[in-house]
Symmetry: C2
DNA sequence: GTGTAAATGAGAAGGATTTTCATTTATATT
DNA sequence: AATATAAATGAAAATCCTTCTCATTTACAC
C-alpha cells in the first residue's frame, strides 16, 4: 500500500523510502528524529546513509506524508502525518512526547491573528513540563 | 543605571556588556539576533567578537535580563526581559515580530498540562502568518 | 599600584542538516 | 529481456549557528 503513496507523491519506489516508511509506522514511538530513524535502519540490518534519511524525510514532509516538529534547542523530530492537527507536550526530563488538541486554543489563535491584522498560516505550540512518570522519581 | 543590574547579576561591568545592553535598549526592533547585536556594535564603531556577543547574551539570559526566543528553523532571537510574559506572532514574509498576551490560552495550557499529568514548567507559542503590511504587497 | 579571578577575541570545534558529485537504481522504452 | 535516462543514493565535504579553547587583557578588591 505504501508504494502507492510514494508514486502519488511523484517519488520512485526505492528500498530506503519503503524502509523509512516502515520504521515510522512500526516504531515504539510516534515521534522520531532523523538519527532515530537512521539507527533503527541499521538495527534492521539495512544499509543507509544519514543524508538519505534526511532527504527522504524532507521529501515525505513535502509530500504531506510526514510532519516535522521543531523542538526548542534540539533537533527536528518527525511523525507520520495523520491528517489531524495536534500540538505537543514535552517532558523536559525523559523527553517523552504527548499530543493534544484544544479547540479553545485553536480558536483564540485565530482571533489574536485577526486582531493583529495577520493572515495566519500556521502555528507552533509546545508545552514543556515534567511528566507523570518523572514526577514519581525522587 | 545599567551598571547596577550587571553587578546584581554578579557580572563585572565591562564595555562589551554595557554596549550590548545599550543596543538592546535603543534598537529599532525589540527582537534581535546575536548577529544583529554584533552588526549594531560594529556600526557604532565598537570592536567586539561575535563569541562575546553570544556569551554576554547567554549570561544576560541567565541573569534574567534578557529572554531568548527559539524560532522555527532559524537562529535564536533575544529581547530585553520586561518581567511580563508574552507570546509572539511572526510574519513569514518580512519577519516582523509582534507580541501578544492571551489569558485564555495561558489558562487552557495549565488545564491541558494537568489533564495529562504534567507539571508545566514553560511553553512556547508562535503564530505564523502574513502581516498587514505584507498583505498589501500583492 | 598589585594581585587575582573574570572577561575578552580569534579561531577552532561542535552538532545538526544540507550539498556535492560520482555511482547505482528504478522505470519507461525498445 | 536489454537499454536508456532521469532520479536516487552514499560518503564526504560544506554550511549554519553556536559554543569552546586558550592566550591576553581587564575590572576591581586590597
Ligand atoms: Zn518524563
Ligand atoms: Zn505528534
Ligand atoms: Zn510582513
Ligand atoms: Zn517579545
Amino acid at each position: 500500500m505504501e508504494s502507492q503513496d510514494l508514486r502519488k507523491a511523484g517519488l520512485k519506489v526505492t528500498l530506503p523510502r519503503l524502509k523509512v516508511l516502515e520504521i515510522l509506522e512500526t516504531a515504539d514511538h510516534r515521534h522520531l528524529s532523523a538519527e532515530d530513524v537512521y539507527k533503527a535502519m541499521l538495527e534492521m540490518g539495512e544499509e543507509i546513509g544519514l543524508a538519505t534519511v534526511y532527504r527522504v524525510l524532507t521529501q515525505f514532509e513535502g509530500a504531506g506524508l510526514v510532519s516535522r516538529l521543531s523542538i526548542e534547542g534540539g533537533h527536528a523530530v518527525f511523525e507520520l502525518e495523520d491528517g489531524s492537527h495536534h500540538d505537543h507536550l514535552l517532558c523536559v526530563r525523559c523527553h517523552r512526547i504527548e499530543e493534544f488538541v484544544d479547540e479553545v486554543i485553536e480558536q483564540r489563535q485565530q482571533v489574536i491573528a485577526a486582531e493583529k491584522g495577520f493572515e495566519m498560516t500556521d502555528h507552533s505550540l509546545y508545552i514543556y513540563g515534567v511528566c507523570k512518570h518523572c514526577q514519581k522519581e525522587k
